[in-house]
Amino acid sequence: MKKQIVVLMSLFLVVVVLTVTRAVISNNLSTAGVDLSRLDQEIDTYQRKNALLQEKILHASAYTTLEETAEKRGYEAMSKQIVLTSPLPIAYKR
C-alpha cells in the first residue's frame, strides 16, 4: 500500500515538474522574439557598416584615386627600364 502511494506521488511530482518546465520554456520562447529582433537589427547594422567600409576601400584602392594621390605627392611614372647585361658582377661570378 505504502509502495503504491510512493509511486503515485512520484508520478505526480514528475507531471508537476514537467508542467512547470514547459511553462518556463514556453514563456522564454514567447519573449525571445524581442531578442531575435534586436539581433536582426545588429546584423543589419554590421552589414551596413561592412558595405560602407567596402565602398571606402574600393574607392581608396581604385587606380583613378591612386593616380590623383600619387600626382599630388609628386610621384612620376616609371619610363625607363634598366637591364643588366654581361659582364656579370665579380661577386656574382664567384
Binding site: 520562447l29 514567447s30 525571445a32 522574439g33 524581442v34 531575435l36 529582433s37 536582426d40 551596413r48 558595405a51 560602407l52 567596402q54 565602398e55 574600393l58 574607392h59 584602392s61 581604385a62 587606380y63 583613378t64 593616380e67 616609371m78 619610363s79 627600364q81 637591364v83
Partner: protein, 559 residues
C-alpha cells in the same frame, strides 16, 4: 406520420449536403486566397532581392560592385507643410523644389522622391525628423574606377517591370549569371508585430548573383585608356579603339574605345554610345588586312617571302579600274617581304591573283572573316562576306589590300592572332571564370577554334612583319632592342560611292615580343587631323603603349 419522418430526414440530408458543399468550396475553389488571408494574419511574405554579382578584373578588384543606397519616399497624407518640406529636401535630394512639392501634393499614400541616395544624405534627412518621409535600403551598381571600360561593362538599368537588368557589354551578356534568383520568405510575428523564434522565416529558393572574374588586367586597362585619350588629343582624332589580347589563349587583356559614356549617368548619354564599336562596328581594315592574304598565299605554297612580284612596276589595270600604290611609287621585282614592307597594293594584287577567289574565300573563312568571333559580349555584329558569285576580279584585287571588305576590329585581331600563335586561332574571351555564391569556381578554358595557317607559315609571316616594322615608315617610334611584328593600315572612308581623300581610319596591329608573344594589340584612330596615315598616328601610339606594356610585363630587350 411517415411523410413527417421523411421530411425531417430530407431536411437533415439537405443541411448535411449544404455543409459539405460549402467546405468543398473553401477547400478547393478559395483555398489559395483563404490561405493567403490566413498567412497575412500571422506573418508576412517577403521577396528577398538577390545581390547582383560583381565584375572583377584579373587582380580580383571589383570594377562593378554594389553600393548601399536608399530610396527616399513620402506619404503625402502625413506631410503637414508641403512647401517647407520641399524647400528643406530640395538641396539634399538635388532636386527642384517644384518637383518635390508636386510629388507631395499627390493624393497618394506612397510616392518615391529619389532613388539611390547615399548613406550620409539619408542620415542628414533622418536627423531632420520630417514626418511622412521614409527610407528603403537597396543596393545599386557602383563603379570604383568611374567610367573605366564603360562600353565593355555595359550598365544596369530598369526593365519594363521595374526590375534591374543588365544592358550591353558584360552586364547584358552575363545578365542571368549576375542577376541571381529572388527568394521568398515568410516571417511569422505575434500580435504586436514582433517575430516569433519558433516560427522564424522560411526562406524558399533564391541565390545571390554570381561574380565574374575577367581576363582584363586593371593596370593595362588603365594605361590603355590614358594612352587612347592622349592619342586622340595629340592627333586630333574624333575617336579611337584599342584592344590588347593574349594571342596564345584569346584572353582579352584590355579593351578601350572613345567616345564613351559614364555608366553612372547613362541616361544623360546618347544611345549610340552604349554599343561597343570594337565588336559592333565594321570598317574597312585597309593595309592591316594584307598579312592575312599574304600568309594565305604563303601557306598555299604559291609564293614565298622571296618570290618576286612581276606586276609591281606600275599601276595595275583591272576591269576598267587602275590600282595604284598609296604613294604612287613603284618597286619593280620587289619580293613579297618588300611588298609588305612597302605596303604595296600592286604586290598584294599579285599574291591574291596567285591564290584565286576560291582559295582566298576559303582562307578568309578559316581566319574567321565573315563570321562572329564568339566573344562573350552583347551586341557583336556579324560582318558577312558577299556570296562567291558576286565577286568580280576587281573585288578580289581590292580585298587583297583591305578595301571593299568590312570587318569589326575584334574580327581583325582574332584573325591576326593566328599569325602570333603558330597558326592557331583562339576564341576571344573576356571572362576567365565565374564564381558562385557557394564557393564553386567555373573556369572558362581557352578554346582553339581554327588553324588557318601552318606553324611554319606563321613563323615566315612573323619575320615579314618584323621586317615591316624595322624598315617601314614608323620604325622611328619602335622601342629599341625588341623584336616587334606589325603592320600599319590607312583605311579610306567610303562616301557616296567614292573614298573621302582627307579623312581616314588609320590603324596599327602587331604583337610583341615577336618570338614569344605576350600580347597582340590593335590601335584604330577615327579621322585624325594631324595626319591621315597610320604610320604617323596609330603606329606611334601603338609603340608608346607597347613600350609601357613590355616594361609592365618585365620583358627585357633581346637585340
Amino acid at each position: 406520420m411517415r411523410w413527417r419522418y421523411r421530411l425531417v430526414l430530407f431536411f437533415y440530408l439537405f443541411c448535411f449536403f449544404a455543409v459539405v458543399l460549402r467546405l468543398a468550396h473553401w477547400q478547393i475553389v478559395e483555398a489559395d486566397s483563404l490561405s493567403l488571408i490566413g498567412e497575412s494574419q500571422y506573418g508576412r511574405s517577403i521577396t528577398l532581392t538577390p545581390k547582383r554579382g560583381e565584375i572583377k578584373t584579373s587582380d580580383n578588384f571589383p570594377i562593378a560592385a554594389n553600393k548601399l543606397a536608399y530610396l527616399v519616399f513620402a506619404n503625402p497624407k502625413q506631410v503637414s507643410d508641403i512647401q517647407t518640406t520641399a524647400q528643406i529636401l530640395s538641396p539634399l535630394l538635388e532636386s527642384e523644389v517644384a518637383s518635390i512639392s508636386s510629388l507631395l501634393s499627390l493624393n497618394r499614400y506612397w510616392v518615391a522622391l529619389n532613388p539611390g541616395v547615399s548613406y550620409e544624405k539619408k542620415e542628414q534627412i533622418e536627423k531632420l525628423g520630417i514626418k511622412g518621409i521614409g527610407f528603403e535600403e537597396q543596393y545599386v551598381r557602383y563603379y570604383p574606377e568611374a567610367s573605366t571600360a564603360a562600353q565593355l561593362l555595359g550598365f544596369v538599368g530598369k526593365n519594363s517591370e521595374g526590375s534591374s537588368e543588365g544592358y550591353f557589354g558584360l552586364e547584358g551578356y552575363y545578365d542571368r549569371q549576375l542577376r541571381g534568383r529572388e527568394a521568398k520568405a515568410v516571417q511569422i510575428h505575434d500580435a504586436l508585430g514582433r517575430p516569433i523564434l519558433a516560427r522564424m522565416t522560411g526562406k524558399v529558393g533564391g541565390d545571390d548573383g554570381r561574380d565574374l572574374v575577367l581576363h582584363i588586367d586593371r593596370a593595362v586597362q588603365f594605361l590603355v585608356e590614358e594612352e587612347l585619350k592622349n592619342g586622340i588629343e595629340r592627333y586630333g582624332a574624333q575617336g579611337g579603339m584599342i584592344i590588347v589580347m593574349d594571342p596564345k589563349t584569346g584572353a582579352v587583356l584590355s579593351m578601350a574605345s572613345a567616345p564613351t559614356f559614364d555608366q553612372r549617368e547613362y541616361k544623360d548619354f546618347d544611345d549610340g554610345l552604349f554599343r561597343n564599336p570594337i565588336v559592333s562596328s565594321t570598317y574597312e581594315p585597309g593595309s592591316t588586312f594584307k598579312p592575312l592574304i599574304m600568309s594565305s598565299a604563303i601557306d598555299a605554297g604559291l609564293v614565298t617571302a622571296q618570290t618576286k612580284c612581276t606586276i609591281c612596276d606600275g599601276p595595275v589595270s583591272l576591269g576598267g579600274y587602275e590600282i595604284r600604290t598609296w604613294n604612287n611609287k613603284y618597286h619593280p621585282n620587289s619580293t613579297m617581304m618588300e611588298v609588305i614592307q612597302n605596303s604595296d597594293n600592286t604586290g598584294m594584287v599579285f599574291s591574291a591573283q596567285k591564290l584565286g577567289l576560291k582559295r582566298v574565300l576559303s582562307y578568309l573563312d578559316k581566319f574567321g572573316i565573315g563570321e562572329m568571333t564568339g566573344i562573350d559580349l552583347q551586341g557583336e555584329a556579324p560582318a558577312i562576306l558577299r556570296e562567291p558569285d558576286s565577286w568580280y576580279p576587281i573585288d578580289l584585287a581590292t580585298a587583297s589590300f583591305g578595301q571593299g571588305i568590312s570587318i569589326t576590329p575584334m574580327q581583325l585581331i582574332s584573325a591576326f592572332s593566328a599569325i602570333a600563335n603558330e597558326g592557331k586561332r583562339m576564341e576571344p574571351h573576356v571572362v576567365d571564370k565565374i564564381e558562385t555564391g557557394d564557393g564553386k569556381v567555373i573556369v572558362i578554358p581557352p578554346k582553339e577554334i581554327a588553324k588557318p595557317i601552318s606553324s611554319a607559315t606563321a613563323k615566315i609571316m612573323t619575320e615579314i612583319l618584323i621586317n615591316a616594322v624595322d624598315k617601314g615608315e614608323s620604325k622611328w617610334a619602335k622601342p629599341k632592342g625588341y623584336r616587334i611584328a606589325g603592320k600599319t593600315g590607312t583605311a579610306q572612308i567610303p562616301i557616296e560611292g567614292k573614298y573621302d581623300p582627307n579623312k581616314t581610319i588609320p590603324s596599327f596591329i602587331g604583337f610583341a615580343p615577336a618570338d614569344d608573344p605576350r600580347f597582340i594589340m590593335l590601335v584604330v584612330l577615327d579621322r585624325p587631323t594631324t595626319s591621315i596615315y597610320g604610320s604617323e598616328t596609330a603606329a606611334p601610339l601603338f609603340f608608346s603603349i607597347a613600350k609601357k606594356l613590355l616594361l609592365y610585363y618585365g620583358i627585357p630587350p633581346t637585340q
